[in-house]
Amino acid sequence: MGVVSILENLAVEKVEKEYSKTGFCHSFLLKDKSHIREVAKRFKDYDYYLETIIGYDKGDGIRLIYVFNRFDKVHRTLIYLDTAYFEEVDSIADIYSSAIWCESEVYDLLGNTFKGHPCLKRLLTPEGLQGYPLLKSWKEEE
């Protein structure tokens, strides 16, 4: 069951990656942000698990990377999602329960909120910390 056929009829664009050089088998850029829940549902039906959610500050916005993989053989697939700073994204916490803490961590460190998340809160940083540490514009105050 090829990954390209799992994701048909969705607005994705393929980005070339080679496994032996980078460790990823496939990667796709999601052009329509509201399709992320449909992507997650389809991956779950085909026995993929959510490995992690990575986020970084691109300079003119935030890029979220959802990493999916299989248990029986390695088939690491990336889904890129580009958003603006502090924008709200649909949450997939009711599809994959591992996203509950992953999305809280992204909110804590980068500032994106997730719509429909059961309990979004600051997970890791100390109480009273102002701002979101992993943004490139964040400076530690004394």
């Binding site: 050089k21 980078t22 460790g23 779950k44 490995e51 992690t52 248990f71 803490w101 460190l109 890791l124």
Partner: protein, 368 residues
């Protein structure tokens, strides 16, 4: 009088950051009624040092010693993941002897971590003697590390292209003595532990089903105890694991006893891997020449390793300079611990300690 006896009141018990059984600084707020737990909430962040932000202002080589300090009981497996990501980016393959040395050291680290887990788990349940017996076995492994690298725990031994130093003849002698004694020692420890008290405390507790494993993304002995075959050494072979012969033990029911049994059998399998690798290790150089200034080409790189707790992944995003643009660690304990808020309700307070111990977490790697 009748009304006073019938009032049910629930109150909050704080299993606080300082606690002898939480294996680090972790806080669980339990809402209990009598002895029964109604709901629980986990509070993290007491060991959050901000290492992912620190990595953006340090060079790749300056981050190497910091990788040891995440999971200090099996430090070399974390170095392996970081060095593997950099080698993938630069296109360097280490020589054969270095790969076998890495496998031997990696399996010794896995043994050290499982020994510590057995001791701490039984200490939480109230038994003190197995703690001393397995710590003696762990001390012999630390002696072997000190012989080769000069340090006991946080060794900083791996480097791009191989390892820092070769194995000495004294190391081979110590390893053979260790292998001769370990099988009998583990039989003694198992006989000591499995009494009726231990079995009553641990069996039929904390069930994790196969759907939970897919839903929460669990890996490692926690997933293998429920019968799901997931092992990075077999599904995504790295280094020379495809030439070695070993089995992956699986459980059946998914309770605490199955997870304990899986780890005890993994100890035996690790010793078998070390025996094979010691017999197959070739002569030759132990490292390639590594570049003086480490600059990764632009792009994203990922390397996954089977650590003692599950799948460990290192993600590096490079913009062509000497410092990483983004460094992220996919940590197995983070996903494994997220199931705890589902497992605890309905059990008694003394079962909380047994369930938390059987998941095997190390808190500084969760909080990074």
């Amino acid at each position: 009088m009748e009304e006073q006896n019938n009032i049910k009141q629930d109150f909050y018990v704080n299993m606080g950051p300082q606690h002898p059984s939480t294996h680090g600084v972790l806080r669980i707020v339990l809402r209990v009624e009598g002895e029964k737990v109604l709901s629980s909430e986990t509070v993290l962040g007491y060991a959050h040092r901000g290492v992912e932000k620190m990595a953006e202002s340090k060079t790749y080589v300056q981050m190497m010693p910091v990788m040891d300090r995440f999971d200090y009981v099996s430090a070399m497996l974390y170095e392996w993941a970081y060095v593997g990501a950099m080698e993938r980016a630069l296109g360097i393959t280490p020589p054969e002897r270095a790969e076998y040395i890495r496998v031997i050291m990696g399996e010794l680290n896995r043994l050290a971590s499982h020994f510590l887990w057995v001791g701490a788990f039984l200490l939480d349940l109230g038994a003190f003697t197995p703690f001393l017996w397995v710590f003696d076995a762990r001390e012999r492994i630390l002696d072997m590390f000190e012989e080769v690298t000069g340090q006991r725990m946080t060794t900083n031994y791996f480097k791009i292209g191989g390892v820092h130093d070769d194995l000495t003849p004294e190391f081979f002698k110590m390893a053979n003595d260790f292998i001769k004694m370990i099988y009998d020692r583990m039989k003694d420890v198992e006989e000591l532990i499995e009494s009726i008290i231990f079995l009553e405390r641990v069996k039929d507790l904390g069930f994790i089903s196969k759907e939970d494993v897919l839903d929460y993304g669990l890996t490692g002995p926690v997933a293998r105890g429920s019968g799901v075959y997931v092992d990075t050494r077999k599904t995504e072979p790295y280094s020379v694991y495809d030439r070695l012969n070993f089995e992956v033990p699986l459980g059946t029911k998914g309770d605490c006893y199955d997870r304990y049994k899986v780890r005890m059998q993994e100890i035996i399998q690790s010793v078998k891997i070390i025996e094979q690798a010691l017999g197959m290790i070739p002569e030759g150089p132990y490292t390639e020449k590594s570049p003086k200034v480490v600059k990764l080409p632009e792009g994203e790189y990922y390397y996954a390793v089977e650590s003692a707790r599950g799948l460990l992944g290192v993600y590096l995003l490079s913009d062509g300079s000497t410092k990483p643009y983004r460094f992220k660690l996919r940590v197995p304990s983070f996903a494994n611990l997220s199931i705890i808020d589902k497992l605890l309700p309905g059990n008694k307070i003394s079962d909380v300690v047994a369930i938390l111990g059987s998941i095997d977490i190390v808190v500084p790697e969760i909080d990074r």
